[in-house]
Amino acid sequence: MVKLTEGRGKELFRKYGVPVPPGRLTRSAGEAERLTREQEVPLPCVIKAQVLAGGRGKGGAVRFAATPEEAKEAAAAILGQQFQGETVREVLLERRVAIERELYVSFALDRSLRLPILIASRQGGVEIESVADAAIDRQAVEPLPGLVAYERRRAAGTLGLAGPLAADLDRLLQGLYRLFQEEDAELVEINPLAVVDGHLLALDAKVIIEDDAAFRHPEYAELRDDRTPLEEIAREKEIAFVQLDGNIGVIANGAGLTMATLDVLSRFGGRPGVFLDLGGTDDPNKVTEAFLLMSRARPSVVFLNIFGGVTRCDTVARGLVEALKRVPERERFPLVARIRGNNEAEGRAILQSAGVTSLSDLHDSAQAVVEAEKTAAAAGARTA
């Protein structure tokens, strides 16, 4: 998925007619000073770190300024900082407004109904998970007519808005729904949606674009999720790659089987460090790449657990054998291979001829992996 920063989200909001305070993005403290001095951003203003994590307010990533000098100082203090692992490269300068009320609206997907839902709550400005269920209104939106007037009126009622504020909300929701549809969003959220001087303003913007719709939205190619370098390489090769905090490497195919493999390893006390889902492939090169990638993550032991379907056992075996030839001596790792399913016999034979013993039972394999990890850890302790 592509999470947009607040600033990018607000650019979309403007495009779809969702009102936001006047503001500008910048990557330099000097520019922050200039923008405020030349009143491109009115003072007093707020300076917000453009990172994806929540809780910026408490984390010092949101500051206020009444003068151009203060704006420069605040931007300088925020830019380059680490915030929950993210480096702040950009700040949003925005007119500071007097908030009368804080509300919440979003569009998301209801998986059970298979419909977009409009979520509204009078309690904005706090994490929506912390709001009592009874204080949240959910309305499914039918695709054929789209978001209709009575749904917007009901949302206005939920939010306690009448008169011009209800009219504001009516327009805002139409724009937000169009954004959700036309940009292939998973989520568009305004929290808080503020009442300011008798009008509605989106003070934050959370927009998540669906990865699978990337072919329709080349404009987001630059904005894919921040990932670790290895995760980035994996993404390019279309391998699902997740880093955890253990030291067992897991290569499996399919999300369900990968999760089940972690479950079984946990059962024996194993702590997975990296897991890597080959998905469906019958290209041995992709398997080789996956192993080379794994080796760079320096696992103490690797568990290969494949059930051959689209990804055939012989393909995996061939890719593995090739990888073993190419992994440098110092990056070698103990390996437990379990292969089942399509072309199982061929795969087993290929591995055998390369000196790799493969197992077939999941329980026994997992146990062997954890044993091997303990042995490796003990060896490491000796050599350290």
Partner: protein
């Protein structure tokens, strides 16, 4: 008809001339399935593995009586391919294609309802009834004809579990891999009544995953309407908190979606829940004996 496919099933493969389309056409044939037609626009008049290829689904249906379509068409074109199947009157579409945008799937789902076309998938292994027919990509080797029904959101994990059931000498009536995407055409809840009504199924195995609330909803359906024994496994109990969906996702789930909540819901509905995949065959055998079946 047992569940979705049977000996009268006449499979059409949309995207038959692609690599996966061709490979799995052969596998379906080996399973004993009547693959009667393929469709690839512009390739009409050719044949793949003895299967005639047509330019349009309407023509394929007209000439071969195909009644199930297995769709391998790439994601950007999958919606339109599915609509073509609907408009040609195909009552069941198994969509193997992965990475279909969920906004497209919303349209497909509701259009399918309007037209009376059921969707299995997308991003799914499909349906197989050993000894009858297969519409999808589940490896033939895992099956053994029998009386255990299987429904799953997973791919390879389904193969793992079906394989385990077959290995202990039991076998499957029908297995459906529903797919694990955010929007699926048929959920556990919607698949359960088919197995309830199926005289060839004695017990149902449900293979779930963390995330979403499909398993909790299935538990409600089991509690209210499902009378056969159920064995379940939920993958991901040990997985770290997922990276998908933010606040609104959590809102929809209303605190549900964890492995613990799913296991609790299923156990409360009377299901035997395995902690690990390899426990499933044992629990199946126990429950069958408990129900007076060998």
């Amino acid at each position: 008809m047992t569940v979705l496919v049977d000996r009268d099933t006449r499979v059409l493969v949309q995207g038959i001339t692609g690599h996966q389309g061709t490979v799995h056409t052969v596998q379906m044939q080996k399973f004993g399935t009547r693959v009667v037609a393929g469709v690839t626009p512009g390739k009409g008049g050719t044949a793949v593995e003895g299967v005639p290829v047509f330019d349009s689904v309407a023509e394929a249906v007209g000439k071969t009586g195909a009644n199930v379509s297995v769709i391998f068409v790439p994601a950007p074109f999958a919606k339109d391919a599915f609509v073509e199947a609907c408009d040609a009157g195909i009552p069941l579409a198994v969509i193997v294609t992965e990475h279909i945008p969920f906004h497209d799937m919303l349209t497909m789902f509701h259009y399918g309802r309007l037209r009376g076309t059921r969707i299995i998938g997308p991003n799914c292994p499909g349906v197989a009834a050993p000894g009858k027919a297969k519409a999808g990509i589940i490896p033939n080797v895992v099956f053994r004809p029998g009386r255990v029904g299987v429904i799953s959101r997973s791919g390879t994990l389904t193969y793992e579990i079906v394989s385990g059931i077959s290995e202990v000498g039991l076998g499957e009536s029908t297995c459906i891999g529903l797919g694990g995407d955010p929007v699926v055409g048929t959920s556990f809840t919607e698949a359960l009544p088919m197995f309830e009504a199926d005289p060839e199924t004695d017990l149902l195995v449900l293979v779930g995953e963390i995330g979403g609330t499909a398993e909790e909803e299935a538990a409600e359906e089991i509690h209210r309407h499902f009378t056969k024994p159920v064995v379940a496994y939920i993958a991901g109990g040990s997985a770290p908190p997922g990276k998908r969906m933010g606040h609104a996702g959590a809102i929809i789930a209303q605190g549900r979606g964890t492995a613990a909540s799913k296991v609790a819901a299923l156990e409360a509905a009377g299901a035997a829940v395995a902690r690990f995949p390899y426990e499933v065959p044992t629990l199946v055998a126990e429950r069958l004996r408990g129900a007076g079946r060998p």
